[in-house]
Symmetry: C2
Subunit: 370 residues, 2 copies
């Protein structure tokens, strides 16, 4: 047997990409707490606290609020497979990679897809949603709140009204926005919302918080077919996360410890303070980058605070700058995806990574490298 | 905002249930290594090592050998959804909860199901498989190697021959057996096999190692429909875990660190030594329990070494014994599932939990409590 593998040794990076963000020491410590069984009373108490804290962070009273045992993309799949049945009409607003991914999953669920598209880097026009719904009997309208591939924040409240006038369910991807920008599930009438842990919650990747409104739960209860995924079937998951505690699958214990601590940190700071912090350092970053002569991809009023898409100047080599940032500055930023590959950098200021020190650090590094 | 949540504090249990098992300090330490990006060269190197070590532990040369980003049950779903298309014939050998679960998933995939059943606590009769395949054109035959709900180890090699004579794919659940009992993917001609991390690998729950043989990969490539799960789609996952490193979803970084260390520990011990250790302490446990007047559910020749199903004497209260074990001895053992609820205890001796000290500990505790 080969025993030639060395002790694990990883660099301490400054994580300023599209996620993961840097993880606070407190979260690391919590994650390394002793593993107990998934039905141990001590773990059940942790689960209850995680559910309560998730409700606070999602700003919802939804009882169906749990962390799914997979990363943010598992959250996307869980959201869609639970409410879509074969032949259901689903309208997806597409303004980047993650909207495209939703379309892919709708197809795999046997949904009838219609898209509202917008140019990457611009927001969805609510009038286009109104128009699309005139002729299309959507059961669900889905949208990505903060499109991580472009850095555009969508006008959720306005679109939610349009969706509910047509009695459709409003399904929102908040992988990147949760904990970094205002997101009010109950006030904004969002029916299904999921997120990830490794962005503005600053927990290692591995869980996907999700919440279902009473209307979404009713839709789930009225299904005529089983949910196509056993692992992500909320009708079964609720029996483990609800008062019955019926075994479904072994929860990822250590990750649940980690998210508990990261949610606790979010609530200690307070949501409003946290949103303001993301907004303030975003503005500082943009203004400093503009002083360097760089420009932003997205118009000011639609920018996501936690993900800054910066246009790469025409004479600059994308790959070599990112490589030097990593090697010389121990710093990660993100590349462009899809049609924006080579055209933008994505600089994340998420959760624990969103500090004045990091703004100065990345600005100084780029100044030196450009 | 509520900030009334306390510091996380969990008891250090002796984990002798059906998993999770106790996690070595080295694995905890590795898991808490600095989080880096999922495309960071430092992480890609970790991924490569994890793949190599998984190949060693599965005893396979299969290139398609990765950890799925979910728990063992996600592994089961990944195995089935990738090879089943609507209308495919699937034979499932059922001898407990996890065989039943496979049947449920086959239905959700649109497969045409046939079952070979056996009484819980007894192994599948290979002749029944031969008989079932006479009239049923199975594309896939699925079985659970070590049925965690009963403690029965199935005769894989013999069944594999029968399956391949009929040119079907052989799909094996090794959630509980991997790293604790002989399992030879290539020698035994297993086409798809998945496991979990929290049993004999003694890593926290959260990943599902999976491996696909060249024949299974060919089946995957020849699909006429997309895999119904986007998250578990191996045609996409292989592009991230293969040389292209195409982003699919953000890997659960910390869990991948953890499994790397746990695999390293397995290889340091050596598979054969590890199997022998599980076998030896299993025999010690059984012989000590029999001295206490307890009997085993399963006949000697079919017992799983890592999961011991003990018949609860008729005058003993299941729940109160387990409660006292937990409260007075800080020790977890498992209850019976389904028809065996209240009838058996499931005592796990898995991975790091499989020690002479733990055998003595649980025997002394039961002696005192009964």
């Amino acid at each position: 047997m080969d025993t030639a593998y060395k002790d694990l040794s990883l660099p301490q990076r400054v994580l300023l990409g599209p996620g993961p963000s840097n993880v606070p020491e407190r979260v690391m410590k919590a994650m390394a707490s002793p593993v107990v069984g998934h039905l141990d009373p001590a773990f059940l108490a942790v689960m209850e606290e995680v559910q309560e804290m998730l409700q606070s962070v999602f700003m919802t009273k939804n009882r169906f609020t749990i962390p799914i045992s997979g990363t943010g993309s598992a959250g996307m799949e869980a959201a869609l497979v639970n409410v879509i049945e074969e032949g259901d009409h689903v309208l997806v607003c597409v303004s980047g990679v993650f909207g495209e991914r939703m379309c892919d999953i709708v197809g795999r669920c046997g949904g009838i897809l219609k898209r509202v598209d917008t140019k990457w880097g611009t927001p969805i026009d609510p009038d286009d949603v109104t128009e699309a719904l005139k002729e299309f009997p959507a059961k669900i309208v889905a949208i990505v709140h903060a499109e991580t591939s472009t850095g555009v924040l969508q006008p959720l409240e306005e679109i939610s009204k349009i969706v509910h006038e047509k009695d459709a369910l409003f399904l929102v991807d908040a992988v990147t926005s949760l904990g970094g920008a205002p997101l009010k599930i109950d006030d904004w009438n969002v029916d299904v919302c999921y997120s990830g842990t490794q962005k503005c919650l600053s927990c290692p990747p591995g869980l996907a918080p999700i919440t279902f409104s009473p209307l979404a739960v009713e839709t789930l209860r009225n299904r005529s077919q089983k949910v196509q995924s056993w692992y992500l079937d909320m009708t079964m998951l609720e029996k483990y996360w609800g008062p019955d505690r019926v075994y479904h699958h072994t929860a990822p214990i250590s990750m649940v410890y980690a998210i508990r601590e990261s949610l606790r940190i979010v609530l200690e700071e307070g949501l409003t303070n946290r949103w303001e912090r993301h907004s303030a350092y975003h503005r500082d970053l943009v203004s400093a980058l503009e002083k360097l002569g760089l420009t932003m991809l997205v118009e000011e009023s639609y920018r996501t605070p936690m993900l800054n898409s910066v246009v790469i100047p025409p004479d600059v080599d994308d790959v070599s700058v990112r490589k030097r940032l990593l090697e010389e500055y121990n710093t990660e930023i993100g590349s462009g995806l899809g049609p924006l590959k080579g055209k933008i950098w994505r600089i994340g200021l998420m959760g624990h990574s969103c500090t004045q020190e990091n703004v100065e650090h990345i600005v100084n590094a780029l100044k030196a490298l450009l």
